[in-house]
Symmetry: C2
Subunit: 230 residues, 2 copies
């Protein structure tokens, strides 16, 4: 590889600036490693809208790549694929890319809202004090319930999440990765949702008999290998 | 193309032997056309288990290809891909195949049970008289309700089905096919579920403003083109 290139990413952090729990930032983190690029992150909090306003967004991830700002995890993946065509492909061709978009929509629409309801109070507990008012107001508006009301429904959301995983589990009973024999961006999209959960509680989802656990460890091992190659 | 090869398929039929509504048989029908192979079908009814017992299954589709029997629509797709490598690929490589398996599981687990609950009485109305006792007993056992009880819940199932389509709809708002710019087996898996519905009621799902409708017509147009090339 040529001299390693560093991508700068604004990354959602908790009160502990080392705690990085955004599933969308995790997608980008996996993608940058897959491309064997170096990642440097800037801890960012929900209320630091001004810090990224120049990029035309209020949300992370935002990356700076050779001075070019790109936001939205899907656009970042497309940008990396186009900008680094000689590095390992994130999609493995147009069909893989088309199907990855379905996986992205399935994750966003089916999995994320259930995790958000399940973990909303765990997130509230770890975010920076100056984010709390914003987080409470925005989440209570989104879900139409108080944080305290959502706490009583957390186990229902956890059960709904487990049920929603059925197609994933059935797939991983038959093959190593969502994309078959090697991991690609579609795997990272889904694994990033589990990184969100495990950042909040490392002991969640560690049933060794669940094919999803085996797959998560395989994806994370691949991520570690990629980091070493940077 | 060389002299066309005919695949023989046992295909679930209604009292009207021209009515073919099995979503799994539709997957195989699309796959055979994609491979530019000729399909000849044998109408088969639910209770004709003896006719296919020699193939080690009680369910269709079963195909006979050069004297070799293959059953289960996924296995048939894999068989066609391996047996006809010079014909257009059904998966577009191992990543497309891995992701198609996810789409297959998502369709089987998320969409099919809702369609089955929604349409169970419409199916009962069109099947062969000698299938009725079997169909009633097996479906009442599966759903834990009488057919009459299921009729009252049909609209709930229809609404659940529409909600379950959200990731598909979001994908087709952004790209032509599930697999991107050209249709592959993953598109046929999902389109076959709609063929099941439209075989029972051709006027269902014809909202011209729904990107799913536009996609269905594109997949069906491609199917017609493929049939002409056989």
């Amino acid at each position: 590889l040529e001299e390693s290139l560093a991508i700068l990413m604004y990354d959602l952090a908790g009160a502990d600036s080392e705690l990085r729990f955004s599933p969308f930032c995790w997608r980008t983190r996996f993608a940058v490693a897959h491309k064997r690029l170096e990642l440097r992150t800037i801890p960012w909090r929900f209320t630091e809208k001004d810090a990224i306003a120049e990029f035309g967004t209020e949300r992370v991830p935002v990356i700076l790549d050779n001075g070019k700002g790109v936001h939205d995890s899907w656009h970042i993946a497309e940008h990396l694929e186009a900008a680094y065509p000689d590095r390992p492909s994130l999609f493995d061709g147009p069909t893989g890319r088309g199907l990855a978009r379905f996986i992205s929509n399935w994750t966003d629409i089916t999995l994320h809202p259930l995790i958000a309801r399940w973990k909303v109070n765990d997130i509230f507990a770890v975010i920076h004090e100056r984010d709390r008012e914003y987080f409470r107001a925005s989440r209570e508006a989104r879900f139409g319930r108080t944080l305290e009301g959502l706490a009583t429904a957390a186990l229902d959301a956890a059960e709904g999440f487990d049920n929603a995983l059925a197609p994933l589990r059935a797939t991983l009973e038959r093959q190593r990765y969502i994309t078959g024999e090697a991991p690609f961006y579609a795997d990272y999209i889904v694994c990033a949702a589990f990184q969100w959960i495990s950042a909040l509680n490392p002991h969640e989802w560690c049933d060794a008999n669940d094919p999803i656990t085996r797959w998560r460890f395989d994806v994370l091992a691949e991520y570690q290998r990629n980091l070493k190659e940077v």
